[in-house]
């Protein structure tokens, strides 16, 4: 029977997938023998959501931007075969892979290990996960391997932690395994806090069992009987699907006493975060699970020795765990065949910002930034110029266009001053002011600093103030010195990753875009025409239709023009409140 699937991740739902699903559900109810309607996770092509896929035996066709009306056309043409023009599918191919379609360029350079099931299976069905080979790795780990060989296999694969630091996963597991103790814990860090990164959300929403399977294998390897998944409360759908996955795994005997008859016991529980960026730091995360303020603790003792509840603990992030079943099932050599020598395997990147095709792409390590932005991302929106990518969120940095041929791996990226981070890649165009970008990140880290270390708590505030002065055109050359000096001091004197990396956005922009800082300070000019205090507001006479809305909304009557006539802003009176921009329905008001 034909199958019709709707992509129901958070990205799909926010683009209207529920309405599309409801319309298809009504149609499917009218034609109960024609097809089977199902849901799936996010395939990564968030820019064309909502997505609808038609599966006919092993033939797959995916359509993008499917409104309810278009869904009905597709249903009539593909399922009922009534004909009609529905256009070319965005992607088409066989069950084994796609081979053509107008968006084939997005999927073609990818190697999907972590995202192997995302967009393919129903994330709420354990049977579909099993049908694609799910829990076979667990069976192998429990019945054919022992803790030592599991850890050896993970070590041999060269897998490095995908949360940002890139610590070798197998080595980390061996530390926790070496500690004797009756009680140990496996923790999955799903507190994806980096603004601009959303791969963990997509994995949990699209393939929750792969993460769970990885955790159970880890439990077996290090001798832990209990796992916690610490998930952001901002991801309600991920939590819901994890709950479904846990219940199903329990019912099937993958969780609980005597897993698959191996004599190994493992139980897992979801802990909802309560909104604190610093809880992505492992010791702060443990404090949060223990019900306290999420403040980092001093290391040593390291978590492998004394972690959660003072017991040996192994903490990995979502993407790391999702790699594990694949490695155990297919072997370390198959995994290490991808990527570079020191950073084997693949990495999922979240492309966002000013890029044309924003979404999730999994590529072998060592792919260049330029390939990610142009080949997969399709270049910059509105034909503007590519300026930089921001990697690693608030802990990362900006890599300029001139260094876009840098390969993405754990060796090359830190050399630029940025970090790999969890894989968020926000693309910036020439309309982005780099000083304002640095101010934005400092504003974030300043408010998210837990307050334990003085330099992080107060130093980031002083840096933020200096950046605010510069973006207002009130900065002085001393502010630049202060920024450089504080950057070094905060890094030296902070306990955890948040403080140690907080100055990165400032340091990288100072390194690559010093001229922009100087333009703000010396010429009172914002080269990107972004900083409000340093630009003037204008109305594009081509776009203005004379609706008078901007003039009515202007608090200082700086806009003149009669109804149906072009309007003009008097920049001497203007207080730059932006109300004219926000009130214009035609996008006619701009800053220059």
């Amino acid at each position: 029977m034909k199958k019709i699937l709707v992509g129901m991740g958070t990205c799909g739902l926010s683009a209207g997938a529920q309405e599309t699903y409801d319309r298809l559900s009504a149609l499917a109810a009218d034609h109960p023998t024609a097809c089977e309607l199902g849901i799936t996770g996010c395939i990564g092509m968030c820019y064309r959501e909502p997505l609808v896929e038609i599966r006919d035996s092993d033939k797959r066709r995916i359509f993008g931007a499917v409104t309810p009306a278009r869904a009905e056309e597709i249903f009539r043409a593909c399922i009922l075969e009534e004909g009609g023009q529905i256009g070319e599918p965005m992607l088409q191919g066989k069950a084994g892979g796609f081979d053509s379609g107008e968006e084939f360029d997005f999927i073609q350079p990818q190697e999907r290990i972590v995202l192997r099931n995302c967009g393919l299976i129903d994330p709420e069905s354990i049977e579909e996960y099993e049908a694609t080979g799910g829990y076979r790795a667990l069976r192998k780990a429990l019945l054919e391997m022992n803790p030592v060989t599991i850890i050896e296999e993970v070590k041999a694969s060269g897998l490095r932690g995908r949360g940002g630091a890139g610590f070798p996963t197998g080595l980390k597991w061996s530390f926790a395994a070496a500690n004797q103790g009756s009680e140990k814990y496996v923790v999955c860090n799903a507190d994806e806090g980096d603004p601009g990164a959303f791969m963990d959300r997509s994995i949990l929403e699209g393939d929750p069992h792969s993460v769970l399977e990885g955790m159970i294998i880890c439990g077996r390897a290090i001798g832990a009987g209990f796992g916690y998944i610490y998930c952001r409360a901002e991801y309600p759908l991920a939590i819901k699907r994890l709950e479904i996955a846990l219940a199903a795994a329990r019912a099937k005997g993958y969780l609980g006493k005597n897993v698959m008859g191996s004599g190994f016991d493992f139980e897992a529980k979801i802990k909802q975060g309560a909104g604190a960026f610093v809880c992505g730091e492992e010791t702060a995360l443990f404090a949060s699970i223990e019900g306290e303020r999420g403040m980092p603790r001093i290391r040593p003792p390291f978590p492998a020795e004394k972690g959660l509840w003072q017991k040996p603990t192994n903490n990995n992030n979502v993407e790391t765990f999702a790699n594990i079943p694949w490695i155990i099932e297919r072997g370390a050599a198959a995994y290490a065949a991808f990527g570079t020598e020191k950073s084997p395997g693949t990495k999922v990147f979240a492309l966002a910002g000013r890029v044309r095709r924003g979404g999730l792409a999994e590529v072998p390590m060592g792919t260049t930034i330029r390939d990610l932005v142009f080949k997969i991302g399709g270049g910059i929106k509105e034909g503007r110029a590519f300026k930089a990518v921001q990697m690693g969120g608030p802990s990362g940095g900006c890599i300029p266009e001139s260094m876009a041929d840098t390969p993405v791996d754990f060796e090359s990226i830190p050399k630029t001053g940025a970090i790999m981070g969890s894989g968020g890649m926000v693309v910036l165009d020439d309309s982005t002011c780099m000083v304002e970008m640095a101010r934005f990140f400092l504003d974030f880290t300043q408010s998210e600093s837990c307050g334990k270390c003085t330099f992080c708590r107060i130093g980031t505030l002083r840096m933020l103030e200096a950046l605010q002065r510069i973006t207002r055109g009130e900065g002085s050359p001393e502010d630049l010195e202060k920024l450089e000096q504080l950057s070094v001091q905060i890094k030296e004197a902070s306990l955890c990753g948040l403080g140690q990396t907080a100055p990165n956005p400032v340091q990288t922009t100072l390194r690559y875009y010093l001229d922009e800082y100087k333009a703000h300070i010396e010429e009172h000019r914002c080269p990107a025409h972004n900083c409000e205090a340093l630009v003037e507001f204008h109305i594009d006479p081509e776009k203005c239709i004379g609706c008078t809305l901007c003039a009515k909304n202007c608090p200082v009557n700086a806009i003149s023009g009669a109804a149906k006539a072009k309007h003009v802003i008097d920049n001497k009176t203007c207080v730059k409140c932006s109300r004219c921009i926000s009130s214009c329905n035609f996008g006619a008001v701009y800053k220059h």
Partner: protein, 166 residues
């Protein structure tokens, strides 16, 4: 059973001294009351033997917890990196202008509360905002005004039918 597990009273009653329950208790209190009232802090403190000051310290540490009642519609405007470079500041200005409130405030009629959040994880649809559980993507100032006015209109219509019912 599931609804019971999330029920604040049930959770308090079931509390068995297991450590690490403070945050889940606070979360269920917030689910129950819409915010964390003074008396909930008292109950939690009495049951868990954690001092009220410590409970308060945990509440104020995490951005999820509220000590004031929230409006009937909670707007969470994403101010993450991708949304920021796609013009989220303009959307914040627009909502503030349309509702006449600042970020963190509730309208006097209790219809809206406005927050900004670090990232909703819908970066490729930036700029994004959440109204209650619904996420809206690829927004423009005009689209934001339309969404807010639609909620106002529905609320007014609802109030009208409620009046005629009386």
């Amino acid at each position: 059973m599931r609804s019971n597990e999330k029920n604040f009273g049930y959770r308090l009653w079931r509390y068995n001294g297991a450590p690490g329950e403070l945050i889940p208790l606070l979360q269920s209190a917030q689910d129950h009351f819409g915010y964390i009232p003074r008396r909930a802090i008292k109950y939690i403190s009495q049951v868990t033997n954690i001092p009220e000051s410590t409970v308060y310290g945990v509440i104020t540490f995490y951005s999820q917890f509220r000590l004031q009642p929230m409006g009937r519609n909670v707007i969470r405007l994403c101010a993450g990196t991708a949304c920021h470079v796609s013009g989220s500041k303009l959307l914040i200005d627009t909502v503030q202008d349309e509702l006449g409130i600042e970020v963190g405030d509730t309208t006097p009629d209790g219809l809206f509360t406005l927050f900004t959040v670090a990232c909703i994880g819908c970066c490729s649809l930036a700029p994004v905002m959440m109204v209650n559980q619904d996420t809206h993507g690829s927004l423009t100032p005009a689209a934001v005004r339309k969404i807010l006015r639609e909620i106002k209109r529905r609320d007014a219509a609802h109030a009208l039918t409620a009046d005629t019912d009386k």
